[in-house]
Symmetry: C2
């Protein structure tokens, strides 16, 4: 009987691939160390795992994980670059990430900036240098540059930084989150659809699911910043309030934020229900991904 590769197995496979692959792409020891340091610091590999899960949910027992692993892992390089640059003193000025000193605390600001630049560029290399066909590769690259670039994630970061201390409205906060956190998670589902050859109708629903999942992720992150300890999170907490960041709890309080989270998870499940009607995806295929948001 067909069973999905578990979220833990996906994470392990991605971890293994990342640890053996970055070394081959630079012969500059210091740069390699700095890039490897942050990539190896771990995390849940949620974005590439989501991409791989989408492909498998569509292809079921025809799924060939090895074929898609490099392109999917590019997402983790891109995510890691964004964390390194976000943590810089000029940006969020964080000393701790995943329980370890941030990249610039370990290697200095200059090397941290360059490690980020290197990972961003390498993400495009991995997206292109793989066994997928030319048309799929081109589409993946175009979409990533859109979601991660000045119309997407980078714009979100500018909105975040430039609005510290001023209260955004709810639509403004949604726009910020859609770009800053949501864009790359949306891309994760879109990339899965592109690689699996999804129809336009399926892609539209995958996009909607990615959008709701990304929103849930950000709301959950805002909640955790308020309600967790540094030990639990591996990074400084309660910083949002100190830095006057715009957050869900800031707008709706803790209980109101929990309600928002429940509502958006319900929306994500509705997307899966619709997907199950027009694709091989089953509505329970992402239960483990949704279980991440336990409150």
């Amino acid at each position: 009987m067909f069973e999905l590769t578990t979220i833990d197995e996906l994470q392990q496979t991605i971890d293994d691939f990342l640890s053996r692959s970055i070394e081959a792409d630079t012969d500059q020891t210091l740069l390699h160390s700095a890039m490897q340091y942050s990539v190896a610091a771990g995390g849940k590999r949620l974005r590439p795992a989501l991409t791989l899960r989408v492909i498998q949910a569509l292809q079921r027992d025809n799924f060939d994980l090895e074929k898609y692993l490099k392109a999917a892992s590019a997402l983790e390089l891109l995510h890691t670059y964004s964390l390194i640059h976000d943590d810089l003193p000029a940006m969020d000025n964080d000393d701790l990430r995943r329980g370890m000193p941030t990249n610039h605390k370990k290697f200095g600001d200059a090397i941290a900036i360059l490690a980020g630049d290197g990972l961003l560029t390498l993400a495009f290399q991995w997206l292109v240098d793989n066994p997928l066909n030319d048309q799929v590769t081109r589409n993946l690259t175009l979409q990533l540059s859109h979601y991660a670039g000045p119309a997407g994630m980078v714009a979100g970061q500018v909105i975040d930084i430039s609005n510290e201390g001023s209260q955004l409205t709810y639509p403004e906060l949604q726009n910020l989150h859609l770009k800053k956190t949501g864009a790359l998670i949306e891309y994760a589902t879109q990339a899965g659809g592109i690689m699996a050859g999804a129809t336009a109708e399926q892609q539209a629903l995958l996009l909607s699911f990615g959008r709701h999942y990304g929103l849930a992720f950000q709301i959950f992150d805002d909640l955790m910043d308020q309600t967790s300890t540094t030990e639990q999170m591996g990074k400084a907490v309660h910083k949002d309030a100190v830095e006057e960041k715009n957050t869900y709890p800031g707008l709706f309080g803790i209980d109101g934020t929990k309600d928002k989270l429940s509502a958006v998870i319900k929306d994500a499940k509705a997307d899966l229900e619709k997907l199950s009607a027009i694709s091989p995806i089953k509505k329970t295929d992402f239960d483990d991904f949704l279980a991440y948001f336990k409150i």
Copy 2:
């Protein structure tokens, strides 16, 4: 009679394209301003102009500039990102660039980092979102990620930063320059060859020409830092010595450096001579590009 588009005409066409194109790619006003500020600050547009010249030199009167303009201009976005990040306080800490305040002096460090990130990502978007076929596009993207990434330009910058104050040997200095400055200029000639459908033999000679041209560019830049004024250069000069940067004049003195420059220009001309035997390229086709290095 066939005449090459002049270097000034190429620059004007690229300037026009850049000024009308960036706005369409972000709706975030501050980010757009910061990206546009540095791109519009000008410069010679040497890299995209070199790409376009290579294509025209191969295709002669069949050359359709409009077809290649967006992909070539991506190189200027990438070059501009590298300047913005290089100028940051954490890196070379420069206040002046092309006669104007550097990006971080105008917009602050955080926005400057993000403007650089945005331009780097947008470069890949422009490379992919254009009228070239899928295979050419994929090859262009793969090569750019290689030349600009952790095996190329980013590695060069790390070598430069991490060796300030320690004297590199000549081979080490060559390796630094090949990566830091040379990589993107090599790519400019390679990209021209890829877009024009050059043969492997032609590509190898274009690569050699690009390498010699890039080396000449760096030697000339080192010389200018020593012998020019801030007014002439539009940026701080005599900084290399103060920061104990590794340079040609530092290793060979002014006269020795001039000899090295003459030698490498001669090598570049020899590449063109060879190219003229196996392609439509004429050995005088790049005379105006080589005239840039007047000492």
